[in-house]
Amino acid sequence: MAVLQRKSLSGGRLLKYTCVFKQHSEFIYHAVLLSFIGHPEIFPLVFTTKTQEIFNCRVLEDVTEENCFKLIKKEDIIQDLKTRAAISDFHPVKKVVLEYPGEELLVVFDANFQYGQNFYLVASEEAKENLLKPPENTEEKEEEKEEEEEEENGEATLEVHPYKPPVHKPWVSLGSEKEVEEESVKDTAIKYRISRVRRKFGAPITFTDKNASHVKDSYIECTSYQDKAFSIKMLEKNVGIQMVPKVREASTQTKWTYPKNAATQYFPRQLSNEEREESLSSEKLKEFFTSVHLRMEIALQQNEIMNAFFDDWKALAEDESSSGGKPDIYLKAYQSFTDLHYLKDRTISCVCWHPTIYGIIAVSARQRLFYEEQVNLSDKSLLQQSVILFLSFFDPIHPQLMLQCSEDIYCFQFSPSDPNIIVGGCINGQIVLWDISQHEENLQNAKTDADGVKMSAIDMPSLIEVQECSTEPPLVRFCTVSSIQYSHRKPVTDIHWLPDYSEANQTGTTFENKAGVRVQLVTCSPDCSILFWDIPATKLPEQPSSEKVREEEMFDMPLHVPDTLNQLDLCWKPLIKVLHSLKTSHFNISHQPLTLEFTFLASQDGEIVYSDWKMEIETDLAKTVSQKYTIHTESVNSLQRSPFFKDIVLSIGGRNFAIWKEGVTTGPILQSSCSAGRYTAGQWSLTRPGVFFIGRDDGNIDIWDLLKKTYEPSHFQNISKSMITFISPCIASRMFMVITPYCAPLFTIWPMTLWHTNLCIIAWYVFFLQCMTTLQKTKEDMEEQENADYIVFLDLEMVMDLGLVKGQEILFSSDA
């Protein structure tokens, strides 16, 4: 498609469109021809040879394709017209020539018959000049555009030029009038087509004229009829429908019966300041206050005292639910203790918290032995000096105090009534007593002396080693040691102070201790004897009863030293000796007043004896009722009474543990299954009933919560690599417990309160009752047991004559 030059007649500027005539291969000449037929400026002419000779525009001689322009004077043309009139070639354009304003007319040789003839006349000056001159411009432009002409045509230059808005131009016809004319209806004759039947072809026909006014209504028509030759059934017809909503006007009237308030607005009445003041100062107000303020204050105070509507039961349940999730049961080491000097190569045999002073722990160490050798402990002779160390939280390195003894201490206890009296059981069977009243103040000040410098002149009547350097803790020698002859033959495995409300005398009767001071202790040992000891009287503050005086006579008491205790060295004898066939390793005293009943004895062979004996004064024999149970496979490590229930005892030994209740003679109320490792230590939790800790030989601590699971520990945690030997709870604070591993010279204190205190004692007790009801032995079994006991008892009567010393012996009947 080509865009051709437009030339305006009105004299406007010639719009410069590219006129690329040269390379239009697709140029459609016919289209161009038609568009230029009505063009006013270009007049295609045919020049005959004669005309060409006249005007010197002979083809290919004067005028060539390149040199196609020829200017001919107007006068010449007019002359020619006059000369040759009708045969002149310029005849068709005569008028144009005559009207031409200029002098010369441009005739262009149309070699390509662009306009239909071989020459064309340009009828306007501007066009002439444009043709003559711009070909130079366009030629230049064509050369420029040749490169970019491939893809686009005339529009390219339009983009280069800045956009000019179209200017109003007159209508330029491009040849469409012909078509319009063809289509338009003109006032021409109407053509009719009439056909006749075939047989009348050729027959004459007559036509007549009729005036329209002769017809009625001056109207005549040729009606249309359905052409039978042409019948197409319209199968589908498009129909348009419009929907219009029906609008209807209606009206109604309501009746307003009565007016009613839909909303009310109000504001409160208020007193003015004067009125208020008047009220405040009135007498009536004063009387009112006088009468009312008392009631009000009572009510306020009630609220201050307690919240009467507080639901304790619900609060308890909330505590439970909040701890129902995974509790934070991680034992964390609070403090580690070690002492390189005294605890080197030793194992800790017993740990006790100081009952009253917070933060003081007493530790006894003994030779580290293999398990098998422990049984034959009494055969060993120990040369190393053995001590009990007092260590403080605040100074874990330096001991605060040292208690000296000649033998290794296997176990020791503070006296509950006087924490300055400590009694310990040795490996060779002796009992040792210390008194640290002089050091009590130092211990209490241990917090402040964190550096561990304890320089104090100790004024003890017994021999005290003088301190050589300031880091040496004060050494306290024992006050009393029992006589070897009358002590145990084997190491003292357990030592307990008697409850302070009961006391035993020589004859074995128990009576109430009115002094309120704990004066007696009981020891047991695997040599099958249980000894009652009496604290030497002079040490005790009050000695009111006469029985006490009588007991004093038993002891040899030199007189010349005011403090006579140390003279009782090696003279201290037990009060009562009880023979038993059990190699007792632990025992536990019941807490019932006025009667002394050993309830649980645990032996090295794993037997538990529940004995309920009552001593009678008259007879030497004691009527005993005892049951022996072999639950544990190995020796019993610990026998612990529950701090919440006075009649529940936990025994740990070998690979299992058992829980016993006093009064239940059929066996343990709970017995655990054998575990993979050995249990070596155990302790009830002081804050939660139903929770106890068991130490194992692989250094793990099992935390058992019997209210949650009875078949496996609720949690276990590894404390150390070696066997746990001892767990001791702190009664003073109930917060911590000491766990001592076997191989390490150090021991650590662990916080014991893992959860908040859960006071579900009722639930715990119910649990125990359930345990008991499941253990129902048949009646026959119980009878059998009783018979067996009696037979054994008769046998052992004969043993009474053997090895008796002063004091009464009570036989226990027991049978393997």
Partner: protein, 104 residues
Amino acid sequence: MLWCPLSSQAEVEETLKRIQAHKGVIATMVINAEGIPIRTTLDNSTTVHYAGLLHQLTAKARSTVRDIDPQNDLTFLRIRSKKHEIMIAPDKEYLLIVIQNPCE
């Protein structure tokens, strides 16, 4: 409230201060027989709110007590709610209202 140096008023002030000084007391109000506050420690709108409501409640409570037994009379009214306790000591002409938070 305006301060007027009369002795009876001083006593009243002292009593009110003492009541206000109790532990947990949030507010104290004195209302006359018609429910118009005379003396208060709260802001005006809250006081008016409380006064209007509690005055009607006290009247209802009193009428209940007296309806059951005409010889009886209302001496104290305590309303315990989740957050605090409202204590009302009624009298012939006035009403003393104290709001206390009892939770320790």
